[in-house]
Assembly symmetry: C2
Homo-oligomer: 396 residues x 2
């Protein structure tokens, strides 16, 4: 797997279960997956010889992120070596958002209105049709709210256009909810769909995932699954495809695509018979897919964010008993004492920490709770996630 | 964790989830956990300086097996370093089975009748009282049926006594079922009990685990849990305690104790809210214990054994697609083709492979299935386990 963030970390856990050899290409030895994987190559995925060397001896190469240059992917695929899954032709639509929009339009998939723009005149022309605000999106490289600017005025749009970044314009959709439809597809063209979830975002970053999406009519959920399955087939995706959607005015509009394990699917570790991480491995290895059905009527996942002000690490370790971790600092109180609090308060909460250095706002873990009814679950998940944030519980 | 077998491997997976630093002391770099753990020390646990060096920098030392010499455990505990959990005083009762029997008798816990023996006259004296066969057990070092000899005649007993191994005699219990009660206990004296399971053994080796034990009266199950909780407290166990019991004539007799994750608890990975591996970590780190309740009405685990005749490895990897693994051989067909079969036939089966070199009869993995009724589950688990055996499906 190219990339060694938390997605690779959790995929590694699934690979261990299946007894599958698993190697990561990490930018740094302190990357989330590099801390726990037994087979780590440290290197830069933009360095083609290094990428090819990393892939040598692998049967399949897959990805923790969508940032490997398209030319490198083509070279990797051309080398008489590993299968590249998903392949460059599919990955292109996660790397070039304008190409994705054009492809979706060609396929007749409902999306927000959009237009290529090169200058302020182009943006104001869009605004005349759609109204302000106008969303400006980086054509490449954006994720987790980066590369997306909601411009309320021509002056704000001009400020965005001053960046040396290619953007396009999109209408600002006043949605009722954000949904995600996660499916898997294998080279054998077997496919499996998870229940459609609601994602709760703040500042463009996912905070909570509710599975299944509360109050979503069954017909709409089926529509979302069908759209995701059709897109996976049309784009010839191998592995996972996460389709982020806006539910707006009784319609579903496709917002984003990802072809990898996705934050909206972390709930599946405990909440589905087959986790998204195992499912991704099964799909890219062309193994029969696992049962995607939920294990409980309601599941809630909440992300844990680094609070605090400094670079104080939580590190990969916790310190037990009365001991104080040498890694603890005043800025980032020892995570162990937070474990004690959270676990004592709620023995059913499932804690996942990524071992990442703490930076304010960075995702450093998640929690999952599941059970019979959604309301209490959200409160439990939010409380646990807030407490595990390395700042203090008020900061979340 | 001292030892790097499959128990350490699955504990490592749990440690990754919690973000806990985890180091194993492996006899060999090809040990099950050594293949997947990012922090491996290779060495001999009977080498005291090596053991102390391994433990340096750890907060807690715990164990994948019970073979570390008692004197070494005492030195480890005396060193101003990590906490040793469980401690030597508790572990003694898993290392010296005669001491265990004597302690249980002193505590009034029902056990099979037993007697120290040094010669054939001692064994025949037991047989006069209990009848043949008589069970001879190694005082130290036995596990998985090793170190246990069922002697039907004085000649068979004499053959056992000819080994240079200290043994004691036990009555042969004609049990209706073998049960296991798994509990966890932390230094804070918090305890948690899993549902009592039935274990199905052949040749002294666990083949299947049925959770909960089918047909077990609730009062008897509570009795077994109470016995395990009381023993954990009396013996001051920290971590897991597995109590193996015979159900015989309406009574429960304690057969064996283990103070670590246990084969009878593998079903908890999917079948309980908190897996035994996470629970062991929480207990030895003195964190609040997790919810031990089941996730489904019935869960069945079946072990996968190496069949075949040779040392052909399944190795830590599988080969995808149409590729053939370089590690495959005629003796041990590529595990990947078996994955295809098992996963296609049963998308709900959970496969766990340990990456171990195959030897006939060796445990190389396990499968878990869960659902509403126990009968179909046993059949599904047995079929999947048989197919994943590296011989052929008839060998299981």
């Amino acid at each position: 797997m190219v990339g060694a963030g938390q997605l690779a970390r959790m995929t590694c856990q699934a690979a261990i279960g299946l007894g599958i050899g698993f190697r990561v290409l990490a930018a740094s030895s302190t990357d989330s997956a590099a801390l726990i994987c037994a087979d780590v190559t440290t290197g830069d995925y933009t360095d083609l010889p290094g990428l090819l060397a990393f892939a040598r001896g692998c049967d399949v190469v897959t990805f923790d992120h969508e940032h490997v240059p398209g030319g490198h992917l083509a070279e990797l695929e051309a080398a008489a070596g590993p299968a590249v899954r998903p392949g460059p032709a599919a990955l292109r639509y996660t790397q070039d958002k304008l190409a994705m929009r054009e492809r979706l339009r060609a396929l007749g998939v409902p999306c927000p209105r959009y237009a290529p723009v090169t200058d302020l005149a182009g943006v104001t022309a869009c605004a005349r049709e759609w109204g302000w605000p106008v969303v400006l999106k980086a054509v490449t490289g954006g994720y987790d709210g980066r590369g997306v600017w909601v411009s309320g005025t021509p002056a704000e749009a001009a400020a965005v256009l001053a960046h040396p970044v290619a953007v396009f314009a999109e209408e600002h959709v006043g949605f009722e909810a954000e949904l995600a439809a996660l499916v898997a597809r294998s080279p054998h063209r077997q496919a499996a769909a998870y229940p459609v979830v609601q994602t709760v975002q703040r500042d463009g970053v996912c905070r909570e995932v509710l599975a299944p999406a509360p109050g979503l009519p069954a017909a709409v959920a089926r529509d979302a699954q069908r759209t995701a399955l059709e897109l996976a087939a049309e784009l010839e995706v191998t592995g996972l495809l996460a389709v982020e959607l806006f539910a707006a005015g009784g319609r579903l509009l496709v917002n984003e695509l990802a072809m990898r394990p996705h934050n909206s699917g972390h709930w599946t570790i405990e909440g589905a018979r087959t986790s998204q991480f195992e499912q991704h491995l099964r799909a890219v290895l062309d193994l029969p897919l696992g049962d995607p059905r939920p294990t409980a009527p309601h599941v809630v996942m909440a992300n844990i964010f680094g609070a605090g002000g400094g670079p104080g690490p939580s590190g990969p370790g916790v310190s037990p008993g009365s001991g104080v971790s040498p890694r603890a600092s005043a800025v980032s109180p020892d995570i162990y004492s937070r474990f004690v609090h959270v676990m004592a308060a709620d023995p059913g909460v499932k804690v996942h920490m990524y071992g990442k250095q703490v930076r304010p706002g960075r995702k450093i873990g998640h929690v999952t709770v599941l059970g019979g009814g959604p309301a209490g679950l959200r409160e439990r998940a939010a409380r646990a996630a807030a407490y595990l944030s390395t700042g203090n519980e008020d900061s979340e």
